[in-house]
């Protein structure tokens, strides 16, 4: 095979990355130059969501385990990064009960985000192993219970998180450019993870646990490593998000937010990063449009009551409809690929006669 043909084959095999990254960058530049501040916010939020969703896809999509606790690790990353980088004076004012040692911490934003990711990964490493031994609905319900534990700790530990009250004063850092770069890195990492030996074993264990065991895959261990990697990305995403939103409370890391992330992964198709990307795009657009509709209806007072929650309800119905129509999500389990430009296709008739 000539070098050029080999390059073509390689480029075709991995064509999903440029197919996603180039439009993301182009739209990002367009929004940055021409967009209103609202659009700028929406697109930044989209990029941050994309990091979270790709982190979720890395574990959930490849292992097939519905990972409810993902948003909890986002929260851990957000609080860790927020506590590390917020000015001591702001913290002593905003979080009166905080441990003095934590109040004194103060570091630049980038290392704070990094450490936030590591804290989330470390936590996943501590709690993950027993959880990964469970499969199917037993696994799902224990992960869900773990999310509740995370939430209770975040709302009650007011020496660290300010309890149920808002944690504010986090320095602003995440601009559109930062979020965009983060999303691009997350795309490469998630794709690389999926294609790596670990990702491949994880996908094999998703397809058939017993067959995976019978060819020598330690299912619990590959799940465990996948879970930690996913938590690392979640923690980093949490940090990036915290420096975008600047003030938040534990409510942001609970069921309704997790449902949005899940709908993004599931609508697009959890088996591929193309699916995660499409889902994030659809849900973000749908959500913003519905929010406008909701606002317009409420402001115009056409109805005798206000239609709060329209967005969530319609998104949920949309998810049901799409899953009936395409159970594997819009994209399905295979990555998008640039159409083949093959010259000598093997003849179909020969294949059929051989296959019998």
């Amino acid at each position: 095979m000539s070098l050029y043909a080999r390059f073509l084959k390689f480029a075709q095999k991995h064509s999903v990355l440029p197919m996603i990254m180039i439009p993301v960058v182009l739209v990002g530049i367009g929004v940055n130059v021409f967009g209103s501040s609202l659009l700028l916010n929406v697109y930044t939020y989209f990029c941050v969501s994309l990091i979270m969703v790709l982190g979720l896809q890395m574990f959930m999509g490849n292992s097939g385990i519905l990972n409810w606790v993902h948003i909890g690790f986002v929260g851990v990353g957000a609080y860790a990064s927020g506590i590390l980088s917020t000015a001591p004076m702001v913290k002593s004012m905003g979080v009166p009960n905080m441990f003095p040692a934590l109040v004194e911490l103060n570091m630049p934003v980038i290392p704070a985000i990094m450490i936030g990711g590591l804290v989330a990964a470390l936590l996943a490493a501590i709690i993950g192993y027993p959880l990964m031994r469970l499969s199917d609905f037993v696994g799902v319900i224990t992960l869900f219970a773990t999310l509740i534990v995370f939430h209770v700790i975040m709302t009650q530990w007011d020496n660290v998180t300010n309890g149920p009250r808002t944690f504010f004063g986090v320095p602003e850092f995440t601009t559109l450019t930062v979020a965009l770069i983060g999303a691009l890195i997350a795309l490469v990492v998630a794709y690389w993870f999926r294609e790596s030996g670990l990702g491949l074993r994880l996908r094999a264990s998703r397809d058939d646990r017993y067959a995976a065991m019978s060819i020598g895959i330690d299912v619990v261990r590959v799940r465990y490593y996948g879970f930690i990697t996913s938590a690392l990305v979640a923690g980093l995403a949490g940090g990036v998000w915290a420096h975008f939103i600047t003030s938040f409370s534990p409510k942001a890391f609970y069921i309704s937010e997790m449902f949005i992330l899940l709908s993004m992964v599931v609508i697009g198709g959890s088996g591929s990063i193309s699916g995660a990307f499409m889902g994030t795009t659809f849900v973000t657009i749908g959500r913003e449009l519905l929010r406008q509709v909701e606002g317009t209806i409420n402001n115009a007072h056409v109805l005798s009551f206000e239609v709060y929650g329209l967005t969530e309800a319609v998104m949920a119905i949309l998810m049901i409809v799409i899953l009936i129509w395409r159970p594997g999500g819009v994209v399905g389990g295979q990555e998008l690929r640039w159409p083949l430009f093959k010259r000598n296709k093997p003849s179909v008739t020969k294949e059929v006669s051989d296959g019998v």
Binding site: D208, Y210, A211, M213, S214, I215, G333
Partner: protein
């Protein structure tokens, strides 16, 4: 006399309270093609599952190449060189043929030999080369069975165990699979074959064990078995599958 490659002694296994094996003993020597025959529920697959560690035996011992492998984890047992092609063509349907084969190679860390191995596999199974980048789930039943066997071969097993490779295949495809198994044996592989299709299996194997109700009912060479046991009665006669002299 050299030691057998695989020795199973007095193996007992159960599913919950239901005892499936009541003390099965068998041996496989290097280079042999041995069959494990019997009707549904005789304990054939249970025996294989116990050997590979997917099912924990209640009692008994399994020795492979002089090492006790009873109660070890399946992934450890595979690394000792013992590969199972599970019943029902358990390939990874959403992964491509290429990924399926790559997974087989992972088990034994033979990645430097991957390319050369692929070439060998393609010689044995040309269809897999054509289907290389398609998802395994899109392959026909026979092709999936070939993929499952190829995947196990990628790990260079010292002992290959096949669980009902002809199950659910067309007669023509079944012929193909049996020819292939014979060829693998001629190439020097040691194979433990589980089959319901006893008549076909006895044509190609060296020795066979006949299981009935979780016990070894008869053991011997293929010739012995053909001569001394009325195969038809095993499948149609239920319990009285006792060995009987067939008048010559």
């Amino acid at each position: 006399m050299t030691m057998p490659m695989l020795t199973v002694e007095n193996l007992m296994a159960s599913y919950g309270v239901v005892r499936a094996l009541h003390g099965v003993s068998l041996e496989v020597n290097e280079g042999e093609l041995v069959a494990l025959l019997g009707v549904n529920g005789a304990g054939k697959s249970t025996t294989l599952k116990s050997i590979t560690g997917i099912l924990r035996p209640v009692k008994g011992s399994i020795t492979f190449l002089g090492t006790e492998i009873t109660n070890r984890k399946p992934e450890w047992i595979v690394k000792q060189g013992l590969s199972l092609v599970p019943e029902g063509r358990e390939i990874f349907g959403s992964l491509t043929v290429e990924e399926n084969l790559r997974l087989g190679a992972f088990a034994s860390y033979q990645r430097d030999r991957y390319k050369a191995d692929l070439k060998e596999i393609f010689e044995l199974f040309p269809i897999l080369e054509e289907r290389f980048s398609q998802p395994g789930g899109l392959l026909s039943g026979g092709e999936q069975q070939m993929l499952a066997i190829a995947r196990a071969m990628m790990a260079h097993p010292k002992l290959l165990m096949l669980d009902e490779p002809s199950l659910g295949l067309s007669p023509a495809m079944t012929d193909g699979i049996f020819v292939l198994i014979k060829r693998l044996r001629e190439m020097g592989s040691t194979i433990l074959l589980v089959e319901q299709n006893a008549e076909r299996a006895l044509e190609i194997v060296d020795r066979a064990y006949l299981l009935a109700n979780g016990e070894v009912d008869f053991a011997g060479t293929a010739e012995d078995l053909k001569r001394k046991v009325d195969i038809a009665s095993v499948y149609f006669g239920g319990d009285d599958a006792a060995p009987c002299e067939v008048p010559l």
